[in-house]
Symmetry: C2
Subunit: 263 residues, 2 copies
């Protein structure tokens, strides 16, 4: 079994040092609790509600920044996926960083930007990666990427067993007793692709923006295994090997049954 | 507003005459209740649990069969979508028939066959249609087609305002307080495509097979508007014009934001 933990954080806008330290502490706590894959929110190092790119730049880091070595040390071999404001080639990206537990670093630059993010960040231009880690095959998405069924499907076709998704979900209403719409979409996507999906939301109002605080780990059958709740940390043990078998009946396979010529 | 009705039926296996009559009655009742679009279950004319193709053939009809004229009369100008066993070109298809309220007939042959259906029916080889009806632009899917996000997307891109889906959902378990997985997937798909989705399930055990009896009309925000419940009929009034605007924020459009080059 693979232990997955989503650790909600409340980043302070622009306070890189404090945010890095809070993330290091959360990673260390989750690793001490036996987590194999630790997911943190979108833009965990920088905060979210920047007014313009100029304001965001001082909170940006390169993927190779030595600051992330502290995270790798705290993780003690666990895989870490966290959102950060990435500086690269003179651009800012809203990226997910994956530390693979043995020194490797991989990134996904958010491909679908939400609203005012378009004024601050450049969209990623590469396919979302599926990273072979000691804990399993991990696909990366960031927040609004999760609204596109094509993204999940692309990861599933390339073998992803788990999708790790740093998110910042602005507070929204939904019918009582049901998950918020973002979780609903992820649940359906987990089921139709037979993948585990771990979404880590943030907390802490920022410039009066509040959040759903709806971190959720979803099993490969689409049902919720764990939510963060008051504690701010969702933890679930999952069998990632199960996700390799896409059989639905003696005669059905959820990827094999596709009819791409009709879509 | 457009009034949509899903009328659950309990077809008798192989009893074409009785099933056609029960459908005519349900259509007449729904039309009398003001329905503009009336959806019936999958294979409503034939029943489902055939052991082999030979057993199914006597309950098959051509799409042009005069029997469907009775449905059109009962519908009094409303659009009717119903599942039937279609005989065409020496093949059997698990099809949806659309009567457009002014004499037009359109079909969709189920493209994704479930389990033993593969022993009885041929899969459809045409893209699911979007039909311009007096009540709006109606896309057609049949049951297991609904498990493929690509199918909904293809209909949305081609302008579908409402997806009408005859289904036969075998009885399955799901967590208390949540819809069954088939409805969950349709809810997410309604939301990410901003389309209304009307799924009409069946009832009545057949050769010991029971059903979810989970007919559901889902709004274009993904939330459930009506379920059939004990009465066996779900009715909802929907604003189909709203589905044309795919804007999500001042800077986002759910179709325009797609990045097909990355999928």
């Amino acid at each position: 079994m693979t232990r997955v933990a989503c650790c909600e954080l409340a980043p302070v806008l622009g306070d890189l040092k404090a945010n890095l330290a809070a993330a290091t502490e959360a990673i260390g706590d989750a690793a001490a609790a036996g987590a194999d894959i630790i997911v943190l929110p979108e833009l965990a190092t920088s905060g979210y509600c920047f007014g313009c790119a100029e304001e965001a730049w001082p909170a940006a880091l390169a993927a190779g920044d030595p600051a992330f070595d502290r995270w790798a040390e705290a993780a003690r071999g666990a895989v870490v996926v966290a959102g950060f404001a990435e500086a690269a080639d003179g651009q800012l990206y809203d990226s997910a960083l994956l530390l693979d537990g043995r020194g490797g670093r991989f990134t996904h630059r958010k491909a679908h930007l939400w609203d005012r993010e378009k004024l601050i960040f450049a969209p990623g231009d590469a396919q979302a990666p599926v990273v072979r880690t000691p804990a399993g095959l991990v696909g990366l998405l960031v927040c609004y990427d999760l609204a596109f069924p094509e993204m999940y499907r692309s990861l599933a076709v390339r073998g992803a067993q788990l999708v790790a998704a740093p998110v910042n979900w602005p507070r929204s209403g939904h019918p009582a007793g049901l998950p918020c719409s973002e979780v609903l979409i992820a649940m359906a996507s987990a089921r139709v692709n037979r993948m585990v999906i771990a979404c880590c939301d943030r907390r802490g109002a920022e410039r009066s923006q509040e959040w759903n605080e709806a971190s959720t780990i979803i099993g490969s059958d689409g049902w919720v295994l764990a939510t963060a709740g008051e504690r701010g940390r969702a933890v679930a043990d999952v069998d990632l090997a199960m996700t390799a078998d896409k059989g639905l009946s003696p005669r059905n396979d959820l990827l094999g049954d596709r009819r791409p010529e009709l879509y």
